[in-house]
């Protein structure tokens, strides 16, 4: 494997992802299917929550990827700002819509789960509120990308927005905790002793989380490839016009 920095060359990136993307995509579909089917049909119903508990296999991986996608965008933005790694900037751009959809899945499955369990679709709970705020941050980031014509300016500005936004997203998270004590349970998975979740649930959950991670990777790779191609096309059109 070549070093990470060599993939700043779009040609090299394209050549590697040519064979890597199909593998990741197939693995993503396979692992997610296994995780979800295992979780939905081959786990026992919960003592109190019944079958509704099984939405956890969608809810937790989506929520995890919603946050991880933002972290990945933050890292990619830093890499772009510091090393002018072009593919990194495009990967951050490609990750944003995926993160947005993951946030939406987390919110919707949470609402569907909350209705029978808490008796309400929505509560102004710190976790729910911070996810809604994260959703707004994704919207702003994507809107800023869409508004700027020049690709390098767009990459620079969105990268700075991502950095500043990250600080404020964390602040909002603590502000939300400060503001209202919540209904939401604590972390589903924890390394602390006495973890509440049984392995019968934990194993398919881990599989499902891996699957979601692979889906994210596959979508970001595909999105980045599309961005590179779109940019090449733009360059071709410009060249035609000049000639």
């Amino acid at each position: 494997m070549a070093s990470f920095w060599e993939y700043a060359n779009p040609l090299k990136f394209m050549r590697t992802t040519d064979w890597l993307l199909p593998i990741v995509a197939v693995a993503a579909v396979a692992v997610t299917s296994i995780g979800l089917i295992w979780g939905f049909f081959f786990t026992p119903d919960d003592f109190r929550q019944g079958a509704t508990v099984k939405i956890v296999f969608l809810h937790v991986p989506a929520a995890m990827m919603a946050i991880n996608a933002w972290v990945m965008m933050l890292v990619a933005s830093l890499v772009w700002l510091i090393r002018r790694h072009h593919v990194s900037a495009l990967a951050a751009k490609a990750a944003a819509p995926v993160g947005l959809v993951m946030t939406l899945i987390g919110l919707i499955t949470g609402a569907v789960w909350g209705q029978p369990m808490w008796g309400t679709w929505w509560a102004w709970d710190p976790r729910l509120t911070s996810f809604l705020i994260l959703f707004l941050f994704y919207l702003g980031y994507i809107a800023l990308w869409a508004a700027i014509d020049d690709p390098d300016t767009g990459a620079d500005l969105t990268a700075v927005l991502c950095l500043v936004g990250s600080v404020f997203a964390v602040l909002s998270r603590y502000a939300a905790i400060f503001w209202n004590q919540g209904l939401h349970q604590g972390a589903s998975l924890s390394v602390a002793p006495g973890t509440r979740m049984d392995w019968a649930y934990k194993a398919p959950l881990y599989v499902s989380m891996t699957g979601f991670g692979l889906i994210f990777l596959a979508l970001v790779l595909a999105g980045t490839r599309t961005e590179i191609r779109a940019r090449r096309m733009k360059a071709l059109v410009m060249r035609e016009r000049m000639a």
């Binding site: 705020i133 707004l136 941050f137 919207l139 702003g140 809107a143 800023l144 508004a147 700027i148 300016t153 620079d156 500005l157 700075v160 927005l161 950095l163 500043v164 936004g165 404020f168 997203a169 602040l171 909002s172 603590y174 502000a175 939300a176 400060f178 503001w179």
Partner: protein, 218 residues
């Protein structure tokens, strides 16, 4: 730098500068809310702290695109960027001018708005104090948003989409100060958090604003 400050203040205060629009907006909001919610003093007293803070925040937002837009159009921003004064200082002065023409007047008329919304008597001190502490953060964060969108043709709506999520922590702590003050609880914690937020924003954000301004002027 003082020349820049007085220039910005003069531009904002004279006709066409938009000074007072934010105040008028704040007033209209305080009139609209009772019309929408109903005139019961008990209801209004409960929501008054939140409404006043949201109103202040939106009034602040209204005038943000003026911070750089006019200077960008007539080219004086390029001159400022090449001036011997560092751009970070220019940005800070711009934010200060915005605060003096928007934030400070909001603080000064907020007791009147509180009166319209039946804000409990104990909360007035906390309302003024929290707005005094919080509105500088609104101006500085808003300056960052304005610097981000300065080159865009239709930046106004985008600006609000970018800036409003950044306002959330300020809003939470600010409204919390007033709400706790109204109930006679201790306000030390949210007040300290609000002050910390403002100081942090004032200290760090001008660097980010200057950075994006340089990118936009490239």
């Amino acid at each position: 730098m003082i020349a820049l400050l007085t220039r910005d203040l003069r531009l904002a205060l004279r006709a066409g500068g938009g000074f007072g629009l934010g105040l008028a907006f704040f007033l209209i909001l305080a009139v609209l809310v009772p019309l929408g919610v109903g005139p019961e003093p008990a209801t209004l007293a409960v929501i008054a702290p939140g409404i006043l803070w949201v109103g202040a925040l939106l009034a602040c937002l209204l005038s943000l695109d003026r911070i750089f837009a006019l200077d960008y159009e007539d080219g004086s921003l390029d001159l400022l960027a090449t001036a011997p004064v560092p751009l970070e200082a220019v940005v800070s002065i711009k934010a200060l001018a915005h605060w003096l023409t928007t934030g400070l007047p909001l603080v000064l008329i907020s007791p009147v708005m509180g009166l319209l919304l039946f804000l409990p008597g104990e909360a007035y001190l906390w309302l003024i104090l929290s707005l005094l502490l919080g509105t500088p953060a609104l101006s500085v964060i808003g300056t960052f948003g304005a610097a981000l969108t300065v080159g865009l043709k239709r930046g106004g709506l985008l600006l609000s989409l970018l800036v409003l999520p950044l306002y959330i922590p300020t809003l939470v702590f600010g409204a919390e100060v007033v709400a706790r003050g109204a109930q006679g609880l201790s306000t030390a914690t949210p007040l300290a958090l609000l002050a910390g937020l403002t100081l942090g924003a004032v200290a760090l954000l001008p660097f980010a604003s200057a950075l994006v301004l340089r990118i936009n002027l490239r």
